[in-house]
């Protein structure tokens, strides 16, 4: 049974249990990130959300998915995200840390923009609500319209769209009376404008006291939330392979076991091995010093 932690879905008043993801999953994420393949990374992360939660019983919004992914990231990679900045004046690097559980807490406390019913004519109305997709391609901003239409009521019959795939859903929304378009784009704009920005980090440059602190924020209603998730998952693919190599070749773990443990567990094993090698090096140096020839054939003085 997987290790899980609780996550309160504030908007819906229930608690989910979120589990870790393993090295094999993390490597796939790193490959998509390396290729900057956002469409496929989005699909992969959507599937990952379903894998890391128990008892999914409701449609998840973008905010829910983000909280789940960041929580899973916290327990699989670590709760802190370390960022490296470069001072523009001195070119010296400095570090900043983002506390991911704190960001999840802030996200959970942030209320989603209220859903809204739009009456198109006497017989048709649509319900608009928070985005479900983690990422909307910038070139297809008009597709944001498709994403917020949640149900369609025609002649008092309600059709729920959450189980319909995006291509069919797009076709369906496109057949609606165009007057809905203005309402939806206004809903999205209002939500974006009304929404409180969530501050993730304040960049305080220690090398230049003149530089004003710079705030980095995310918004639930644009792609900045997805960009932050990507940033929190970023890592070095080569280092990841090096760790696996060390664990399988020098520590005799089976490849299957290594693939199934979390990245943070891998780092722990790797650090143990590194410390062990360091200790052995030191012991070797000490023993070499102890066994080195002494002046006039005299041994080292006993302490």
């Amino acid at each position: 049974m997987d290790f899980t932690v609780p996550l309160a879905i504030s908007e819906k008043n229930y608690t989910l249990r979120v589990s870790e993801f393993n090295n094999a999953t993390y490597r796939t994420i790193l490959k998509y990130l390396q290729n900057d393949d956002k469409p496929h990374l989005t699909k992969f992360l959507d599937n990952l959300v379903d894998q890391v939660i128990e008892n999914k019983n409701d449609t998840l919004t973008r905010k829910d998915k983000a909280c789940i992914l960041l929580t899973s990231r916290s327990i699989s990679i670590g709760p802190e995200l370390e960022l490296t900045f470069t001072c523009p004046t001195t070119q010296k690097p400095y570090k900043g840390t983002v506390d991911i559980p704190y960001i999840v807490e802030k996200l959970c406390q942030t209320h989603e923009y209220p859903s809204k019913t739009v009456k198109i004519n006497d017989k048709v109305e649509v319900l608009l609500k928070m985005h479900e997709s983690l990422w909307i391609p910038p070139a297809d901003t008009l597709d944001a319209v498709t994403d917020v239409v949640s149900t369609i009521k025609i002649d008092n019959k309600i059709y729920t769209l959450d189980k319909i795939d995006l291509t069919d859903r797009r076709k369906l929304i496109e057949s609606l009376d165009g007057s809905v378009f203005g309402h939806v784009s206004k809903y999205i704009t209002d939500a974006w404008q009304a929404h409180e920005k969530i501050q993730i980090i304040t960049d305080r440059n220690p090398h230049d006291p003149e530089q004003e602190p710079k705030e980095y924020n995310i918004n639930l209603y644009d792609n900045t939330l997805f960009d932050f998730i990507c940033l929190s998952l970023a890592g070095n693919l080569r280092e990841s392979y090096q760790m696996i190599y060390t664990l399988t070749n020098h520590m005799q773990f089976s490849p299957g076991y290594v693939d199934n443990i979390t990245p943070v567990e891998t780092t722990i094993y790797f650090n143990i091995k590194t410390q062990e090698i360091e200790r052995q090096k030191q012991e070797q140096q000490t023993s070499q010093q102890n066994n080195s020839p002494t002046l006039g054939g005299l041994g080292a003085p006993s302490l």
Binding site: N121, K123, V124, L142, V145, I152, I154, D155, K157, Y159, I164, D168, K171, L172, I173, E174, S175, L176, D177, G178, S179, V180, F181, G182, H183, S185, K186
Partner: protein, 255 residues
């Protein structure tokens, strides 16, 4: 696509068929039945309007397609002169009559729109007009949306290529040639007649470019006469000044 989706689309279309709009079409001098534009039309029109301010050919192609798809009397001939009036009609009936006229100003076009039937077209508007200079005769007539669409599809490809190569001057020059071309139906010169097949606009462009300047000037005047009437459907008076309603992405966004 699953049967469920087809059922929902069927239900939407069935309701849509019952909600027809009466839109005034100037060259018919009466209202014509249209079905409302769909979200797909809105997306097409907005994305084409946002494409490139120097290349409006695609935007006009989309407008023409939407007019043809929404018109419920397929046998009538719709002219480019009708386009602004029909687009304003669809906008007012579907998205309301408050339209943007500048970055920070809006205008309620309803009263003006309801006066459309009083904006009588010039008598000779749809007649063939013959222009002559030095033995060269040109027969002109306002283009239909079909001709406009045929020429614009070809023009779009050429403009896209020019703009990719940053040839702005060439784009502007050729835009004028393609616009003139739409109004020409026949050219008689040296005992020969060239009948303009607008689907072959690319080959007709050099013919237009070779016309004598005096004849081109006469052609510009004839086109201007038509354009003035076409623009009268989007020219309003506000604070004692004439102002043009720009039909663009904002116009169809329903703000």
């Amino acid at each position: 696509m699953s049967q469920d989706i087809n059922d929902i689309i069927g239900a939407i279309e069935s309701v849509s068929r019952q909600n027809t709009l009466d839109i005034f079409v100037p060259t018919q001098n009466r209202t014509v039945k249209f079905r409302p534009m769909t979200v797909k039309h809105q997306k097409q029109i907005i994305s084409s309007a946002l494409e490139n301010s120097l290349n409006t050919a695609h935007f006009h192609v989309e407008c023409n397609n939407i007019i043809s798809e929404c018109c419920l009397e397929p046998d009538i001939e719709i002219y480019v002169i009708d386009r602004n009036a029909i687009l304003v009609g669809l906008r007012v009936n579907m998205l309301g009559s408050i339209v943007p006229i500048s970055d920070d100003k809006t205008y309620d076009i309803r009263d003006f729109y309801e006066q459309y039937s009083t904006l009588n077209p010039p008598e000779d508007l749809l007649n063939n007009i013959t222009l002559e200079y030095n033995g060269i005769k040109i027969e002109t007539k306002p283009p239909t949306v079909k001709i406009d669409g045929e020429v614009n599809k070809i023009a779009k490809k050429i403009f896209d290529k020019h703009l990719e190569e940053k040839k702005v001057k060439e784009t502007v020059t050729e835009a004028i040639v393609f616009e003139i071309l739409k109004y020409i139906h026949k050219i008689h010169a040296a005992g020969k007649t060239i009948e303009f097949d607008h689907s072959n606009a690319l080959n007709l462009a050099p013919v237009v470019e070779a016309l004598p300047l005096t004849l081109s000037k006469k052609l510009f005047d004839a086109i201007d006469h038509v354009k003035q009437y076409e623009n009268s459907f989007t020219t309003v008076e506000t604070d004692g000044e004439k102002q043009s309603i720009i039909i663009d992405a904002r116009f169809f966004n329903g703000d």
